[in-house]
Symmetry: C2
Subunit: 366 residues, 2 copies
DNA sequence: GCGCATTACTAATACGCATTAGTGATCCGG
DNA sequence: CCGGATCACTAATGCGTATTAGTAATGCGC
């Protein structure tokens, strides 16, 4: 009646001749002369009071080191435990050929913070290039292998994200994202930063300030406008629609005439928002140059963010910098908090004011 | 004798009240009126010829859709005895603050190739910052949670690498590394590339060519010299020690006098190797400029590699480019081959010749 | 010196899926 | 019309770990 239990499974390659396969807890147990369960107890972060003698613990740990044992992440997860892996998912390639568009600056902080907290990172690439889970409707499912996952970029499909969140899987989105109920995110505090820039200009004596923004409903844009207007209000300056120039194509619509018009109306400072393309700043910068404005003598310019690479050589714009590494780190902190069930961490990261050289005292009127 | 099999496991949260946890294959099977195995067969990419009727397949797929079934990656990978994870280990931080020193260009290719082959990447950092596995003497042990691991940079401790290799753990080193028996690596084919550059110069009529190299025993250096000499030989030009100028500090030792001496001896072309610092090229470039050489009219210059960033603006040097993304991709291919037990892939990656503008026809003699 | 704790383990089992060895049907050739 | 082949599917089992119920072995109080 004895069934042959140890028969080799045909589908499995029995490790290339002579080589030992990766060690399992069972092998550690054998070497230490204990049971597999004991190995698990020694290694695990005991929740209940299972007591292990010092002697046994030492034997097990020695065996672990001797064999170079490392727990299998899939098995840990299946058994409802942690595996100390945090996922990083980007819908587009994490390392695009064009460095400019990469998430590199964020990853700097992500890697550091993750390492500091004892997590390793798993890169899930969900791009059209194929990806491990094909590009099917469940491209995001793979991330469940990790303890939690960070999402980069605004392209993460809402439906699948919602599903992960609904299942209680720890998820953090890098970049504000309110429309998805229950989705945790971290983002830059554009409101305060924009407000600070306006305060700076006001302190320099500017009394009329105009914001140039693109036609965009992203939170990043509306937040800046919000902060801008708040800054005006705090300084007791005129706000309202007249203070905001909104254009879908600023490079064409922000004409020299329009700029002269503003100057004639007494506007002495201009603020542009930062966008992917940097068009608002480019347009503002170009028009000012065209009109022959000597900046910051005749008028001041400020940029709510960083300049596009092609304008990086120009005099440093007054404005603020988005601390990308810190954002990445904050995202990891929040994810770690979710994973371990702690209280959620702070979602907003402060931007740093950049004095720059495009803003100066308001010119004397007339 | 009946054991209570379905008793709830205390450690598990029984899905937030009301909401059912996500479906399993078993539930799909129940709904479709088939067995769990059948569901697995329908969903899996059958390797063996298990045949399923169209009728059944449809029922299963309908049930899958109806329940919103998504496979659990932990279970899949555990059962398949394959995590589909490739490790990427760098001794220094994978994402240093200074992008210049990063492995970014390699990672571009690594990510693409890994994604195309269905692998996800696990990032391991061996720096002192810790990572999940502390920095102990077994810092490398953690990479075993992946199916195999790629090593970047020459700092990977030999002893531990040897251990991994000896244990049969699939390892690939990015960059040639012969001293470690059995270590698989991929590297650029500097020999052929250097040879090609010499051939190009010879075809332009140059009859005496000198190589400027630093004092370094790295394979990357010796390979270039090897290819350089081979190129001379093929072209029937004078080689030997006189054709190679080796210096630990070329910027000081490659003086104007020395350069003039070579020119007087009839040397019309100079080749520098690329190094971390780019000193050989910088020295050569500087001396030529100092002596007042009109390049490429009076003499030709070539660089065996890419110029350092600070000299990137100068006229593009004739030479070759190291296809870093391709190198990364080749490394992944080799690692994938090792993991799946296939035949090893090609370790050498061809460099691409870069015409540049610093080499031209040899000047008429006298 | 007997019951009851406590200590230090081990046996058994579940997690969700993939794989394979069956197992009835049905078909086919001679 | 019978032995074998093919088809379509299911039962059973294993992957590696975490958890818990159980079990000897000892200690302790009265």
């Amino acid at each position: 009646m004895e069934e042959p239990r140890k028969r080799a499974r045909p589908g499995r390659v029995p490790a290339p001749a002579g080589r030992t396969s990766r060690p399992r807890q069972a092998e550690v147990a054998r070497l230490a002369g204990v049971s597999q369960a004991t190995v698990s107890l020694v290694l695990g972060a005991r929740k209940q009071g299972a007591t292990i003698s010092e002697e046994t613990r030492r034997k097990v740990l020695d065996a672990v080191r001797a064999l170079g044992y490392v727990p299998d992440p899939a098995a840990s997860r299946l058994a409802a435990a942690r595996n100390n892996l945090l996922g990083v998912f980007s819908f587009t390639s994490t390392f695009p050929t064009d460095v400019q568009h990469s998430y590199y600056p964020f990853l700097v902080g992500v890697e550091q913070e993750a390492a500091a907290r004892g997590y390793d990172l798993v890169l899930f690439t969900g791009s059209s290039t194929g990806g491990a889970g094909a590009a099917g409707p469940n491209a995001l499912a793979r991330v469940r292998l990790a303890d939690g996952c960070l999402f980069l970029g605004r392209h993460a499909p809402a439906e699948e994200l919602r599903r992960l969140v609904a299942d209680g899987f720890p998820v953090v989105h890098l970049g504000r994202r309110d429309e998805l109920e229950g989705l945790a995110w971290v983002g830059a505090d554009y409101i305060s930063a924009s407000q600070e820039v306006v305060a700076h200009l006001a302190a320099l004596g500017h009394r009329r300030i105009v914001l140039v923004r693109e036609d965009d409903e992203a939170p990043a844009s509306t937040d800046r406008e919000h902060g801008f207007l708040k800054g005006l209000e705090e300084a007791g300056l005129p706000g309202g629609p007249a203070a905001v120039f909104r254009s879908a194509d600023p490079e064409r619509e922000l004409t020299a005439e329009r700029l002269r018009g503003w100057l004639d109306e007494g506007v002495t400072a201009f603020v542009a928002e930062e966008t992917d393309t940097g068009d608002a700043w480019r347009a503002l910068h170009g028009a000012a140059h065209f009109v022959g404005i000597d900046c910051p003598r005749d008028a001041s310019l400020a940029l709510l963010g960083s300049p596009p690479p092609d304008l990086a050589e120009e005099p440093v714009p007054t404005g603020f910098d988005i601390p990308r590494p810190q954002l990445g780190a904050a995202a990891v902190r929040m994810l770690a908090a979710l994973v371990s069930g702690e209280e959620a961490a702070e979602p907003l990261v402060a931007c740093t004011f950049r004095p720059g050289s495009t803003a100066g005292p308001a010119p004397a009127r007339y």
